[in-house]
C-alpha cells in the first residue's frame, strides 16, 4: 500500500447470502495487515437471503473517528456483487473518477451512461463456479470480487489479501478455493472505460 491516501472509503453492495459482510471484514483485515487503521461496518436489518444489503470499509492512515456509514460523495470505490444492485446506487451523487467494480458479464445500461466513473467488470459467478464456491445453490463471489478490486485499485497487495483470507477461513480447502478465485479475478478484471 502506498502512503498517499488519508482515508479510503469503500462500499460493498451485495445480496444477503453472497458474502458481502464477510468481504468487508476480509478487506478491513487486509488493511490491518498492511499497518493501516480500518473499520468494517455492516448495515444490518435486511439480513435475509437475497435482500439488497451493503457494508462499508474504511482504510486510513490515522485512527478513524467517524462511525457513520460512508458518505456517497466521499467514496473511493464500490464493489457490486450482483449487477441489478446498480439500480440502488445514487449514481448522480457519486464523485467523478470513483471506481466501480462490478460482477457482471456486461456493464448494466444505467452504468454505461456514467462516463465520469471508472467502471470495470469481472464475471465472478463464472469464476466462483469454476472454483467450486457454491453454498446452498448460491455462488459465493465476495472473495473473488476482492481480487478484482485490488487489481482495479492497487491499494492492497495480493499477499495481504490472501493472508486475510487465510485468517478468515483458516488453512484448508475453502481458503484455497477462495484464493484461487481471487487470483483468477485479478487476472480477468478489466476496466471498460
Amino acid at each position: 500500500m502506498d502512503g498517499k491516501w488519508m482515508m479510503t472509503e469503500i462500499r460493498i453492495l451485495s445480496r444477503g447470502g453472497q458474502g458481502g459482510v464477510t468481504a468487508a471484514k476480509v478487506l478491513a483485515y487486509s488493511g490491518h495487515l498492511g499497518g493501516k487503521f480500518v473499520q468494517a461496518i455492516p448495515k444490518y436489518g435486511a439480513e435475509r437471503k437475497g435482500a439488497p444489503i451493503f457494508a462499508d470499509v474504511r482504510i486510513a492512515d490515522k485512527h478513524v473517528k467517524t462511525h457513520a456509514p460512508v458518505i456517497t460523495g466521499n467514496t473511493h470505490s464500490w464493489i457490486v456483487l450482483e449487477s441489478s444492485l446498480v439500480e440502488t446506487m445514487p449514481l448522480d451523487d457519486i464523485t467523478p473518477g470513483t471506481i466501480i467494480v462490478i460482477n457482471s458479464k456486461e456493464i448494466p445500461p444505467a452504468l454505461k451512461e456514467k462516463k465520469s466513473l471508472k467502471i470495470g467488470k469481472v464475471d465472478a459467478v463464472d469464476i466462483a463456479r469454476e472454483c467450486g464456491l457454491i453454498k446452498s445453490g448460491t455462488m459465493m463471489v465476495s472473495a473473488t470480487m476482492l481480487g478484482a478490486w485490488i487489481k482495479a485499485t492497487g491499494l492492497i497487495s495480493l499477499e495481504e489479501l490472501i493472508a486475510a483470507i487465510k485468517h478468515q477461513f483458516g488453512e484448508g480447502e475453502l481458503a484455497e478455493a477462495n484464493i484461487r478465485s481471487i487470483r483468477m479475478a485479478y487476472e480477468r478484471f478489466e476496466f471498460v472505460n
Partner: protein
C-alpha cells in the same frame, strides 16, 4: 506509560467487533458466574463467551437462563454468593429484566453488565440510547463508550470500580448497537498478566453465608428503605472519587483513558463553541472538528464517558470556558427534551454559567448521524 503502536508489529492489536471486545474484556476479568440470555444486537457477546467457556478457555459457570429477568436474578444471587459476576443485555431484554435491574441497583450488588444500546420501538433493532437512558435512575453507574477500544477499556475498569468497597455498586457499560457491536475495528488487548495486576480477585464485602444467615433486599419498613437510599447516594458520592482514580490507574498501566470522567478534544481555551455528546456521537463530533476548522469555526468536543454519577463539576468547569454550547442527545425524555440536555441545563442554571445553550436530538432508531451532519448543525448556531 506505554505508547500504543497500532500495527501488526504489535500482535496484541486485533480487529474486533464491539461485542468481541466486550467478550474479550469479560474473559480477561475472570468472572466466576455469567447468567445471560441472547438479544440482538448483544447476542454475539453471549455466544462468544459461551464458546470460550465450552472450549475450556475460560473458567466460569455459564448459566443458561430462560429469560433476562432470570438472568439478572441469577446474577444477583451469584454476586451475593461472593463471586465476580457478569451479564449482558440490550433494549427489550433490559426492560424485561427491569425489576431486578432496580433490585441490583438500590441494594448495591456489584454486577458488571454491558448494555448494547438499541431503540425501544416495537419492533426495531437499530441503535439509540433510549434503553439505557430509561435506567439512568436505577442506581447503576453508567459508562458510554466511543469506540471498540474504549468498550474493552471501560469494561475492565467497570469491574474494579463496581467491586471497590467504597463503591460496591453495579455498572452498565453502554455501547451503541451495530455502530460498535457489529463494526470491526482495531483494539489493543492487554495480556492476562497485565489485567491480573490491574484487577485483583473479587473480595466480598457482604456475602450470603448459610452458617451466618442474613436477609438481603427483603421487606423492610420505610426507615429501612430510607437508609438504603441514603446509602446509595453515598455510594454515588464515593464513586465520583473512585472512578477517576481507577481510570487514572488504567491510564498509567495501559496508556488509555484519563483520570477525567469527561473527555475534552480540541482547544477549549480558544473555542467558540462546544459540542456535548456521548457514545459514538462524541467521536463522530471529534471528526467534525476538522471540517468546522476549515469553515473558520473553532469547536471543542466535551464527551462525558460517565453519565451516572453525573460529572457535574467537570462539565461546568469546562463549559465556563466556552461562549456557546450544542448538546446532541440520542434519546428523549418524552414530554420534556433529551436527557443530557435537561441535566446540563439544570447545572448551567445552578452554577450561573453564562452560555448560549442549544440542543438537538439526532440518531433515534438508528438514523445515521455523520460528522458532516454535526458540522452543519454547529454551523447553524454560529
Amino acid at each position: 506509560m506505554r505508547k500504543v503502536v497500532q500495527t501488526m508489529k504489535n500482535p496484541n492489536v486485533q480487529l474486533l467487533t464491539g461485542n468481541a471486545a466486550v467478550a474479550t474484556a469479560a474473559k480477561l476479568a475472570r468472572p466466576k458466574v455469567i447468567p445471560a440470555y441472547p438479544i440482538t444486537p448483544q447476542t454475539l457477546i453471549v455466544e462468544t463467551i459461551s464458546g470460550m467457556i465450552a472450549r475450556g478457555e475460560f473458567d466460569c459457570d455459564f448459566v443458561n437462563v430462560e429469560s433476562e429477568h432470570s438472568a439478572m436474578g441469577a446474577a444477583i444471587g451469584a454476586s451475593l454468593g461472593g463471586v465476580r459476576t457478569f451479564t449482558a443485555t440490550s433494549a427489550h431484554g433490559l426492560l424485561y429484566m427491569g425489576e431486578l435491574v432496580w433490585w441490583a441497583g438500590v441494594t448495591r450488588v456489584p454486577i458488571v453488565m454491558p448494555v448494547v444500546n438499541r431503540s425501544l420501538n416495537p419492533w426495531n433493532i437499530w441503535p439509540d440510547h433510549q434503553d439505557s437512558m430509561t435506567f439512568r435512575d436505577a442506581g447503576w453507574i453508567q459508562f458510554y463508550a466511543k469506540n471498540n477500544q474504549e468498550v474493552l477499556d471501560l469494561t475492565l475498569c467497570a469491574f474494579k470500580i463496581a467491586e471497590h468497597h467504597k463503591v460496591w455498586m453495579p455498572v452498565m457499560i453502554c455501547l451503541d448497537g451495530f455502530i460498535l457491536s457489529h463494526t470491526s475495528a482495531q483494539v489493543e488487548i492487554p495480556t492476562q498478566e497485565e489485567v491480573d495486576e490491574f484487577l485483583p480477585p473479587f473480595k466480598p464485602l457482604a456475602m450470603l453465608d448459610p452458617d451466618d444467615p442474613f436477609a438481603h433486599g427483603s421487606l423492610t419498613d420505610s426507615k429501612g428503605i430510607w437508609e438504603q437510599r441514603m446509602s446509595l447516594i453515598d455510594g454515588f458520592n464515593n464513586a465520583r472519587v473512585i472512578i477517576p482514580k481507577v481510570f487514572h490507574e488504567y491510564y498509567e498501566k495501559f496508556g488509555r483513558l484519563s483520570k477525567e470522567m469527561i473527555e475534552i478534544v480540541g482547544d477549549i481555551n480558544d473555542a467558540n463553541v462546544a459540542i456535548v455528546a456521548i457514545g459514538t456521537l462524541g467521536e463522530e463530533a471529534e471528526q467534525s472538528l476538522e471540517v468546522l476548522n476549515k469553515r473558520g469555526i473553532k469547536a471543542v468536543v466535551i464527551r462525558p464517558r460517565v453519565i451516572r454519577p453525573f460529572p457535574k463539576k467537570e462539565l461546568i468547569a469546562a463549559l465556563r470556558k466556552v461562549p456557546k454550547l450544542l448538546v446532541i442527545d440520542r434519546a428523549v425524555s418524552f414530554g420534556n427534551a433529551g436527557q443530557l440536555a435537561i441535566e446540563i441545563q439544570a447545572e448551567l442554571y445552578a452554577n450561573k454559567v453564562d452560555i448560549e445553550f442549544h440542543q438537538i436530538i439526532r440518531g433515534l432508531g438508528g438514523m445515521d448521524v455523520t460528522y458532516m451532519d454535526i458540522a452543519s448543525e454547529v454551523g447553524k448556531i454560529m
